[in-house]
Symmetry: C2
Subunit: 255 residues, 2 copies
């Protein structure tokens, strides 16, 4: 059974791409077969592997021009990448109102996982909650939301929850928000305590044990075209994403 | 002559709100009369002063329900705030296609500055380049763009420049991108060198001398309902924003 995980928060710059890349890499290092899917027209994950405007990408797949397996790059042992293209932003404009357009990604992933053994699919979502993100929410079983431990970040989480409720009712009854985790964490009492108390009160058991500390090595690794484990294996960033991946591994979904 | 400055980058989470709040405060401490304008429906600046859903706000002003001066809060010596409301997001949806809707903010600010002595207007923009941001670009003389010193951040800057070229041609010939500055800066050679070299080559003289270092006090100060100068006057954050404000003060626009 393939676990399909979407990393989503429509607030920008909270560490979705950094988390998708390094959670997928950590799971691959643990021996899991992982497919990393770049669903953000900014294509930051695709670029972080040094791939520029790939001829075959997720946009062509959702336009049904070719199957998803023809887009796949092998980027590390046990880790495959489905790249993105900046032209993908047009998908959002051209498909509004067509209910069928919400299911395309799910159908493609179902076809792929029927033929190929994949343990995890990790989807990097764009900073918006439109048709592209809805495709991710329909295809996924589990949503994980990165957020900064700061008062303003609560709004972003509430938007994600509203979207999940809508999708769960109409499009995908399996979808669950499995966890929220802090990124760029400084462990400061003043900000973290407020936000942690708010989360424990309103969304008990959602906050994961692992927080990702602010770590400049995480900012540097994409420029070196590497994940954090290849770039700086002893860093806080590597340790934190290793323990986050293990925590996700243990949160097995209900059958 | 009032200088109208917009802090804009459609990439999310790069420090627009943190910069608008602290540049405005630093200018006010220097004795300038400053109006801080929250133009982001997320209303983070408004909230950081502890103001929740103010009855009169910039949304009502742009709907021409009341003049801008009826929305103003005095938040510190020499510093006035025009608050925002989350309902303002509707303005984006309801006004597409109406060219008159791009000029409303400018008209209101012109009326205000004709009657009241204001040295600086600082506008915090939302993470998008739609009608709301266009109002800011039409009203402003100067744009300043915060960005993280990271490879992916260049795309955001190019989008801002494209928008400025369009606005300059059709709506506001005075508009200029006056400067770009790094936020959440770690001073690391690997990332900063690449980005600095790229900027010097493609956009010479745009990068300001001041970078804002990563500083947890900047993250904490909104929870304490204070700007960085009141909250942690000796911190890196306070020193950096003080020198950034002074740098902006010296970049006097062409008459
Ligand atoms: N733990 C961390 N420590 C230091 N820097 C970080 C950390 N996590 C993310 N960053 C940096 O923060 C910036 C934003 O991160 P990232 O691109 O992963 O966010 P995102 O949510 O994917 O953004 P977008 O909304 O644009 O897709 C990048 O410069 C990244 O290097
Ligand atoms: N120099 C800094 N050091 C540490 N944290 C910072 C710094 N600048 C900004 N931050 C933090 O980064 C996060 C994003 O900052 P901010 O809200 O100012 O960005 P923004 O561009 O206004 O975001 P949005 O696109 O959502 O409007 C906040 O948690 C803020 O506290
Ligand atoms: Mg991203
Ligand atoms: Mg902001």
């Amino acid at each position: 059974m393939t676990r399909i995980i979407a990393i989503s928060n429509q607030k920008g710059g909270v560490g979705k791409t950094t988390s998708s890349l390094n959670i997928a890499s950590a799971l691959a290092i643990e021996g899991k077969k992982v497919l990393l899917l770049d669903l953000d027209p900014q294509s930051n994950i695709t670029k972080s592997f040094g791939i520029i405007e790939p001829e075959k990408n997720i946009y062509g797949v959702l336009l049904k021009e070719y199957p998803i397996k023809e887009t796949v790059f092998k980027v590390r042992d046990n880790l495959l990448l489905v790249p993105c293209s900046k032209n993908f932003a047009a998908f959002e404009r051209n498909n509004s109102g067509d209910i069928e357009s919400f299911y395309i990604l799910k159908e493609q992933l179902d076809e792929l996982t029927a033929k190929t053994h994949i343990d995890f699919i990790v989807i990097d979502c764009p900073p918006s909650l439109g048709i592209i993100s809805t495709n991710a929410y329909v295809a996924a079983d589990e949503i994980y939301t990165p957020m900064e431990a700061q008062e303003f970040s609560i709004d972003g989480l509430e938007e994600v929850i509203k979207t999940i409720i809508k999708v769960k009712k109409r499009l995908n009854e399996r979808i669950e928000l499995k966890g929220v985790f802090f990124t760029r964490f400084h462990g400061r009492k003043l900000i973290s305590r407020d936000v942690q108390e708010y989360l424990q009160e309103h969304f008990p058991n959602l906050l994961l044990n692992t927080s990702i500390r602010e770590c400049v090595r995480l900012k540097e690794s994409p420029s070196a075209r590497q994940d954090i484990f290849a770039f700086a294996p002893e860093s806080n960033g590597a340790n934190d994403y290793r323990s986050l991946a293990l925590e996700i591994l243990t949160k097995v979904p209900r059958p």
